[in-house]
């Protein structure tokens, strides 16, 4: 029971990262029609720059600065490369472009910061376990969950309550009509891409404190993130969150019973979902086919 709780909680933490990553990925897929393989790369950018800035500005400022830089980097990439892909309906091109980008980012990060994992200092306040029996529930882990929940709520509020967010949602439904109504869809797509990469950067900074700061961090998370998006349903933001939590928990619980299968279980879930419910848990019909 202890073990199950321990692995389950670990899985839930993983799941919240997958959910946050999947949320950004899902936004980018829906509005930019780009399958962003470099999403893990943006996560790396956020995490490593936060790590570098932290000695100068402290943890809390780095937690804000890392994601913002990742978002800015996202705009740069969108303007310089990704926008070439908008005129190509076949998703294979955007997939390969961002795949190349992911290779480059990972390689550069490895060259600058080294292939070994780096220690990521979290504030002492958050470092200690909350209770003695449940040693694995540290303050930082609770903080991570809270921060991700807050970010998710903030994103949904932004999309529902602000006019820019409403335009993004309308653009997801019908970009042509939105453009005819006089909305600058180029700006819309750029900002949307930036929001997605900003979320990835945020996930990166938070994950650096739980997992380890290593160049393979993004690579390990990106496939699980895709699985989360597909399981939740491409085009559904809420589905992405659900999918992320579900596969994280499933992987965690599997670790308790049969550790060797913990990596494979998420792909099995995805295969099963695609067979019985091809559009994912909350997906819409006809998107990306």
């Amino acid at each position: 029971m202890e073990l199950l709780l321990f692995d389950g909680f670990n899985g839930l933490i993983q799941g919240t990262f997958y959910a946050l990553m999947a949320l950004g990925l899902s936004l980018i897929i829906s509005l930019n029609s780009v399958i962003n393989f470099a999403h893990g790369g943006f996560m790396l950018v956020g995490a490593y720059l936060a790590f570098t800035l932290m000695p100068f500005i402290g943890f809390w400022a780095a937690l804000i600065a890392g994601p913002l830089i990742a978002g800015g980097f996202g705009i740069l990439i969108e303007r310089s490369l990704v926008h070439y892909m908008y005129s190509r309906p076949d998703p294979i091109y955007s997939l390969l472009l961002t795949f190349g980008l992911a290779l480059i980012i990972e390689d550069i990060v490895r060259t600058i910061w080294g292939a070994q994992g780096l220690p990521f200092q979290i504030p002492a306040v958050l470092g200690s376990p909350v209770s003695a029996t449940y040693f694995f529930i540290t303050g930082y882990r609770l903080f991570v969950m809270g921060a991700i929940a807050l970010a998710t709520i903030a994103l949904f509020a932004f999309l529902r309550l602000t006019s820019f967010g409403i335009r993004i949602r309308a653009g997801i439904l019908d970009l042509e009509t939105v453009s005819v109504l006089g909305v600058n869809v180029y700006l819309l797509r750029s900002v949307n891409f930036a929001i997605g990469t900003l979320l990835a950067g945020f996930a990166g900074v938070l994950a650096a404190g739980v997992l380890q700061l290593a160049p393979t961090m993004g690579d390990n998370v990106i496939m699980a993130t895709f699985v989360a998006v597909v399981v939740g349903g491409i085009g559904s933001l809420l589905g992405s969150v659900l999918g992320g939590l579900l596969i994280g928990l499933a992987a965690g619980v599997t670790t308790a019973f049969y550790p060797a299968a913990s990596d494979v279980v998420i792909y099995v879930i995805m295969a099963v979902v695609l067979i019985f419910r091809p559009r994912g848990i909350l997906g819409q019909e006809g998107l990306f086919e």
Binding site: L96, D107, I234, V268
Partner: protein, 320 residues
């Protein structure tokens, strides 16, 4: 179907390609290449041609072809370690293992389209990857399967050591078989049906074509050919590792196909020449940073040459 290319021209192009491949040991050292590299190019070229059957000719975006490639490799490797010391038999069994897997998993993927097709093929591939990585006692786990080597070929009383040049010709023979199957297929009614599905899936359906069955067929054939290439890569490396099953390997195969030209028969081979060539050349100068060059290659290929190298050549010619 192949517009722009007259029969006569196709004859000369094919003749030139085969002549160059047959004479490779003569001209390759002159430009600084070596035969192991040529064998690798042919093997990856064949696997990329299998990928292209799905992507370029059937319109199905596979992103998990490394599964069948790697399974072929493991099949051949395990045969040589445990069962036989006959190289051709190992290749045959490897091909059958990977191909049968594609045949069996075909029904799972045949109904999916677009991004879903890519995701389910990745998912299946990753399942095999993690099995190979975790099942230490059988597959050698993360370190890969080693401890086997290619054995001499026996032709009657003749025994041929498979050193660099003879092995190249062995690979070329297998490549020729795979390429011939693909060429015959693409010129058959079956191949035309694949192209019809690529061009307009719904219209093909209205014409009474059982689209899903044909996608299954295409997926299985591509699986067999990728597995053939995979069993050869196991022999070439004398080693097979989970890396050959990983989704990055699938991505590499896709980029070879796209870079060379998705709509052309020889495109994937051209893509493999460029990819393997650059990988080999760059990694001798920057052993730690060749990934950046490969990534840059992806980006340049996708942004500037979306139709592939051969696609450009064809467009130029039509203008001229």
């Amino acid at each position: 179907m192949r517009r722009g290319l007259s029969l006569d021209r196709r004859f000369w192009i094919n003749g030139a390609v085969w002549l160059l491949l047959l004479a490779a040991p003569l001209w390759l050292p002159l430009i600084g290449g070596y035969m192991e590299l040529a064998s690798r190019v042919l093997i990856y070229g064949l696997a990329a041609m299998a990928v292209n059957l799905l992507i370029g000719f059937t319109g199905c975006m596979t992103f998990g072809e490394a599964a069948y490639f790697g399974l072929g490799g493991y099949g051949a490797g395990l045969m040589l370690t445990h069962v036989t010391n006959s190289t051709p038999l190992a290749v045959l069994v490897g091909t059958l293992v990977g191909g049968m897997a594609a045949l069996i998993f075909g029904p799972l993927v045949m109904r999916r389209r677009g991004i879903y097709f890519a995701m389910i093929t990745v998912a299946i591939g990753q399942i095999f990857y993690f099995i190979a990585e975790r099942w230490n006692s059988f597959t050698g786990g993360e370190d890969g399967l080693s401890g086997f080597s290619r054995t001499p070929l026996h032709l009657g009383s003749l025994s041929i050591q498979l050193t660099a040049v003879p092995f190249y010709y062995f690979v070329l023979l297998c490549f020729a078989i795979g390429a011939a199957i693909l060429a015959l297929l693409l010129h058959s009614p079956l191949g035309h049906t694949f192209v019809a599905i690529r061009e307009n899936r719904r219209r093909a359906q209205f014409l009474g074509i059982h689209v899903e069955r044909y996608v299954w067929a295409s997926f299985a054939i591509a699986g067999f050919i990728a597995a053939l290439a995979g069993s050869l890569i196991a022999l070439e490396q004398n080693f097979i590792s989970p890396i050959n099953l990983y989704w990055v390997e699938s991505g590499n195969l896709v980029i070879m196909a796209v870079m060379g030209g998705m709509r052309s028969f020889w495109g994937p081979l051209v893509g493999a020449i460029i990819f393997i060539g650059i990988q080999d050349y760059v990694s001798s100068f920057f052993p730690n940073n060749w990934e950046t060059f490969i990534g840059a290659l992806f980006i340049i290929a996708v942004v500037f040459f979306p139709k592939g190298i051969l696609g450009i050549a064809r467009r130029r010619r039509r203008v001229a």
